[in-house]
Amino acid sequence: MGFLNLFSRTPGALLKLPSGSFTVDREGSVIVGTLPSNFPESLVRDIAREVLAAFRGAEAAQLPLSELVVNFPSLKITARDLRGGAVIFLSPRAIYEPAA
C-alpha cells in the first residue's frame, strides 16, 4: 500500500478562525487585540466595520444596544459597545457544541 503515501501530501494553508478579542475605536481602528498575527488585518477591520454599523443602525432605529451576539455555525462574534467603539470577542465553535 505504498502508493497511499501520496495521501499524506499537504499543500497550501487554510485560514483558521481565530479565538481572541480586539478593541476598536469609533472610527473602526484597532487599538489593542489578542488575535493571532497571521489572521488577516483586513478581516479584522471588516468585522469591526460591520459590528459598529450594526450598533449605530440600531441606535438610529431607536433600539440602543449595549451588546451584540452574531452566531454562525462555526463562529460566535460577541461585541460590547464601548462609547462609540467596541470590544469584540471571536470564539470558534465546535460542531458538537450546543448553540449559545
Partner: protein, 353 residues
C-alpha cells in the same frame, strides 16, 4: 438503484485524481466518475451537468475547498458533498459540517479505511432525498396515523417539531386523545397535523388514557386536510378571500415578545409588523444587518448566518430566518440571553408549523 449517477472528484493533484478514480470504480453502483483539478473547473462542470455527489479536497490553490463548498451548498443544495482531506483539524471539521457537508473523511491510508469509505459513499448515493417524518421515510404524519389506525394498533405517537412537542394517543385503531402546543383534544390533533416536518416516535400504548376525542380517524384526518387547504389560501375562482388574522398575531402572543417584524426577500415588499408604530426604520436596520453579517460569514467561511441577538437597556432583539421570511423580534428587557435564544427558536418553530 439508478445506473447513471455521477460523482465529481475535485483535487488539485492529478495523481490523486487518478487514484481516486480507480478506488471509486469499485463502488457497487458503478457511478460515472468525473474529475476536476481546480475549484473553477468544478464550478463550470456543475453548471453544465447534474451530479449526485461531489468529493472535494480542502487545501487547493486559488479557490480552496471551503470556498468551493460554501458556493456549492448555496447553489446546489440537493448535491451530496464529501470532504476528503489530510487536514485533521477539529476546527475545519466543524466548519465543513457547518456548511452542511454530508461527510468529512480523512484520506484513507489502509485497505480497511478505503472499504469503509466506499461503504459510506455507496450509502450516500443511495440515500433518499425526499422529505417526510424521520423514522418512516417519505411518509407524512397523516400516512403514519392512517397506518396505525388501519392496523387497529394501540400506541402513543410523540411528535417533535423543533422545540414543540405533541402527543397522539391511539387505542385499538381509534384516535382517543391528543395534546400539544398548549392545546388538548381535537384542537391539539389538528395543530399537530398542520406541522410540516418533525420527528416521531411510537411509544407503548396507554390503555388507561381517558378518551376525549370521539370522532373516527377518517373524519379527523379529513377535517385536518381541509383546515390545511384553507390555511394555504382560497383556490382561484372561489370569490373574495375571507379576512383572516395575521399569522404574526399568534407569534406576538409568545411570552416576552414586545414586537415582531416579518420581512420577505423582496426589499420592495412592505414589512409586516406587530407592536411597532414605525416598522420601516426597524425593517431597514434588520435588512442591513442580515445582509452585512451574511456577507461577513461568507468572507470568514464561518457558515450561514444563524442568528443575531442584541441586548439593550430598554429591550432585547433577535434576528433570524425561517424559510424565506426574515424575522426581527423585540424581547422584554428582563429576559436573559439564553432565554431570548430559546424563545426565538420557539417563534421560528411556530411560524414553520
Amino acid at each position: 438503484m439508478a445506473t447513471n449517477q455521477k460523482i465529481l472528484l475535485l483535487d488539485d493533484d492529478p495523481d490523486l485524481l487518478d487514484m481516486y478514480r480507480e478506488i471509486l470504480a469499485q463502488l457497487p453502483s458503478r457511478p460515472e466518475i468525473h474529475t476536476a483539478s481546480s475549484g473553477n473547473r468544478a464550478m463550470a462542470m456543475l453548471e453544465t451537468e447534474a451530479f449526485q455527489l461531489l468529493i472535494c479536497d480542502l487545501k487547493m490553490p486559488k479557490m480552496d475547498g471551503l470556498q468551493v463548498l460554501s458556493i456549492v451548498r448555496r447553489k446546489y443544495p440537493q448535491l451530496r458533498t464529501v470532504v476528503l482531506t489530510s487536514v485533521m483539524d477539529e476546527q475545519f471539521r466543524s466548519r465543513v459540517y457547518a456548511l452542511g457537508v454530508d461527510l468529512f473523511w480523512q484520506k484513507p491510508g489502509t485497505d480497511q479505511e478505503i472499504k469503509l469509505f466506499l461503504e459510506c459513499l455507496e450509502s450516500l448515493l443511495g440515500r433518499e432525498t425526499e422529505g417526510g417524518f424521520r423514522g418512516v421515510h417519505s411518509k407524512s404524519l397523516v400516512d403514519i396515523i392512517q397506518l396505525e389506525c388501519i392496523s387497529q394498533s394501540s400506541s402513543l405517537l410523540r411528535i417533535t417539531n423543533g422545540p414543540l412537542t405533541g402527543k397522539i394517543w391511539i387505542q385499538d385503531g381509534d384516535v382517543i386523545d391528543s395534546e400539544g402546543a398548549g392545546l388538548t383534544g381535537e384542537a391539539a390533533f389538528h395543530k399537530i397535523l398542520s406541522w410540516r416536518a418533525g420527528v416521531f416516535e411510537s411509544l407503548p400504548a396507554e390503555p388507561s388514557r381517558p378518551r376525549t376525542i370521539s370522532k373516527s380517524y377518517n373524519a379527523l384526518l379529513l377535517e385536518g386536510a381541509q383546515a390545511i387547504d384553507e390555511s394555504r389560501g382560497p383556490a382561484a375562482g372561489e370569490g373574495e378571500p375571507k379576512p383572516s388574522a395575521s399569522p404574526l398575531a399568534e407569534l406576538s402572543q409568545v411570552e416576552g415578545v414586545e414586537f415582531i417584524l416579518a420581512l420577505k426577500p423582496d426589499p420592495a415588499a412592505p414589512p409586516e409588523a406587530r407592536g411597532l408604530e414605525n416598522p420601516e426604520r426597524m425593517a431597514a436596520w434588520s435588512r442591513q444587518s442580515f445582509d452585512r453579517f451574511r456577507a461577513l460569514g461568507e468572507q470568514l467561511q464561518a457558515g450561514p448566518l444563524e442568528r443575531i441577538e442584541g441586548f439593550g437597556p430598554q429591550r432585547h432583539v433577535a434576528l433570524a430566518c425561517q424559510g424565506d421570511t426574515s424575522f426581527c423580534v423585540g424581547w422584554r428587557h428582563s429576559l436573559t440571553g439564553p432565554q431570548v435564544s430559546e424563545m426565538m427558536k420557539k417563534v421560528l418553530a411556530l411560524w414553520a408549523s
